[in-house]
Amino acid sequence: MTDENSRFAGLDRKASALAEFTIRQYRTKLSTWVVMGVGMLAILMVLLFQIEAQSQTIDAIDNDFDSFDFDADGYPNGQEIRYQTNPRDELDHPGLLEGNISPDDPSLYINEDGFDWELDSSDVQYIGFDDDGDCLQPEAGNMVTDSQKDSNEDGHVCSIKVAWSSLDNRWYISSDAGVDEDPDEDEFYHEAIHRSFIIGFGKVGFVLLIGIFLPLFLASGLIRQEIENDTMHYLVGKPIHRAEILIYRLLGFMAIGVPYIGILVLFTAIVVGLSAPGDSFFRLGDIGIWLGVMLAAWLMLLVYGTLFMLFGMIHRLGAIAAIVFGIWEFVLAMISLADPSLLIARLSVVFWGMTIVDACAMMVYPDTPVMLAQGRSIKSNSDWSIETGVLFSPDQMPGTGALSSFWNETALGSLGPFMTLLVSVLVLLTLAASLIFIGQAIFKGKEIS
């Protein structure tokens, strides 16, 4: 028995008692299981799409037509360029040269000149290597003179000029013809989709959807239910400070939410890591961003949980306030996804959670802006798909659209990603702490009749 009547006696025992009680109370409620079950189902459904996407192969597109045979002499254009015969003259082909050169298989000339970009930190760089030699060859096709080889007129022959614009926050690319013009679509697509899935689903699925809805359903009743069921006096009439009641109840809620999210993220990470593109069996490198997603989702749980608990505590109609607030967050989340540099986005909680994910993405995939630039650099080079015979003009590599819609350079631009991460975490923790402080002050003054 406590013979000291101090409220600090046995703090941890009271905390564990109330938290345990809360957890057990959640277990008996149907809504807990329904919400958690629906969340899992939704994630499974989305993962199925991801697995399917990663297992399909994207048609290869011959962006530079060098697998075609324009002069129908039996030798693909690319081979003719290599042997410096005229690809448009049927009477001029490598077969006539010494050495009995047989025609190459056209598939050798599809996706043969991919991105060889090694970027450093300078603002303007000249990169790229002409793998198939259709630019570098002294007499390559119609690119004979130096000025023809330097079609972007940047003074560098057969190269790609890449300039970073800090005004627009993107790379500007201008390439010489024939350099890195036929990249592997399939490889690019899988990598792009992999990254955009993790970032997109991390932000929308975990941070926004689960981050808002789990607390909305489960945390709103933490205090409200007790008052409405007339059982609040059991908790209030004990030697526990009212602030403690709030904190320990929240602790119980987190004890349910944190493992739930942890398991879901872990499961998603395993599935995505196994189906990921790349040479290794499992993409271990992604772990950084998954940890970021987990952290962001946990912080969302904390902040939203506190907020909704307080809404419910303050007034019976606090539920309506919670709904309205939820809608506000939704709208601002959409804005954050579209353009996080808008200041209004910072007025929401979800913005900071998404920023955490963005910051981790920047740290784990620092070359994504380059990838986006590469994806956008392939413009209308190919009109004819060899596989399907369908005329189309991709104006960017497949997968670029998805990646660009979910990727955001973090809006706290001047701070690096690590500082952004720290700032966002701090903002959320401070928000949670101040909410608890305000909440307990309100709760202390609240009469319970």
């Binding site: 699925g205 909305l216 309506i320 998805a402």
Partner: protein, 346 residues
């Protein structure tokens, strides 16, 4: 009963027949007499001269009045719900609900206001942007942002929130079901209430918009003939939207006991399904998952009916089937819950 199955005097008293009052003594005796029939009917009964008496003298007379026809009873339920918005003494709606409804009504007339502004200041571009047209009629009913993202689902959620669940919680459903009111009618009237309010909000404002635009435009009958089918199509899509919102919402309200869970679950269903489908569309460019989002199914149908180019890859028949299935499930849940609802204060 004795061996030959006849009801003797003592038993008659026990059973309360022949107008004899039941006294404690005889009841005891009958209870003890449940052996194999040939023992004496004796018992240690305290015959303390308990006077069998009635508690109070009440004469029950059956009501011989005329029961009003069914439609009148149902109308009274509907009236009770609807008048609660404007009068005291009927179903109470919270002030926030009324404010939100009012706000959304005004807000959804925004396009008419802009068109009016356009004509007043003579800006033809503004007028063209907001005047009635295929796209604008569609947008008035099925535009996602802000109508179907904020306005309509919020009002629907607030309406259905406590519709049935509050009755269960406060025990007033017992009042309904102990009257000559069928459960089907009760459900139907609740459904109609929500549907009427939502229809005013969605289709009523559409009609005002259309009418207002006709007046502003000052066009002749030929224009009316051209655009009326579009208006009808938009109205039909609007009614479909109203029906779907109502059925899903009431199904949720009948499942829960609070007024909060149905509202939030309602919003969750609409917004989450839309968001998930959007996510998958952005990532994988597959639109088939839009079939789980009720809003998108109706939007697809609306686009088809109004002749707007579809933003979905899959055929509109799939959306139609999906929305029918969704409504069927919701109505099934609603009717089975209400018909099995216990008439006690739970």
């Amino acid at each position: 009963m004795n061996e030959d199955g006849e009801v003797g005097d003592i038993d008659a008293e026990f059973l309360g027949e022949e107008g004899k009052a039941v006294s404690g003594a005889s009841r005891m005796e009958a209870a003890y007499g449940s052996g194999d029939g040939d023992d004496d009917l004796t018992a240690q009964v305290a015959k303390t001269g308990v006077v069998a008496g009635t508690i109070f003298d009440t004469t029950y007379r059956p009501w011989r009045g005329e029961l009003n026809p069914r439609w009148m009873r149902n109308w009274s339920i509907l009236r009770h719900h609807l008048l609660g918005f404007v009068k005291k003494g009927h179903r109470p709606w919270s002030i926030w609900m009324k404010l939100a409804l009012f706000g959304c009504l005004i807000g959804s007339m925004g396009d008419l206001a802009m068109a009016f502004l356009g004509t007043v200041i003579g800006d033809t571009d503004l007028y063209r942007l907001f005047g009635a047209s295929r796209g604008n009629l569609y947008g008035h009913v099925l535009g996602f942002f802000p109508r179907n993202a904020l306005c309509f689902p919020l009002i629907a959620a607030l309406l259905i929130g406590g519709m049935i669940s509050e009755d269960r919680r406060h025990g007033t459903s017992a009042i309904y079901f102990s009257r000559p009111i069928e459960r089907r009618d009760y459900t139907a009237m609740k459904f109609l209430t929500v549907a009427i309010v939502l229809s005013i909000l969605i289709v009523g404002t559409l009609a005002i918009y259309y009418l207002g635009d006709i007046l502003l435009r000052g066009e002749g009958w030929s224009w009316l003939l051209d655009t009326f089918p579009m208006f009808l199509a938009a109205a039909l899509a609007g009614f479909l939207l109203v029906f779907t919102y109502t059925s899903i919402g009431l199904a949720l309200s009948s499942v829960s006991q609070g007024r909060f869970f149905p509202a939030v679950a309602f919003l969750a269903i609409f917004l989450v399904s839309k968001l998930l489908a959007f996510l998958i569309w952005q990532l994988f460019e597959r639109s088939v998952i839009y079939l789980i989002s009720p809003y998108d199914c109706i939007a697809h149908l609306g686009q088809t009916m109004l002749g707007i180019s579809s933003s979905y890859d899959h055929p509109w028949t799939w959306s139609l089937v999906s929305i029918l299935i969704i409504n069927a499930i919701a109505l099934y849940v609603l009717t089975s819950r209400v018909s099995s609802m216990e008439v006690t204060r739970e």
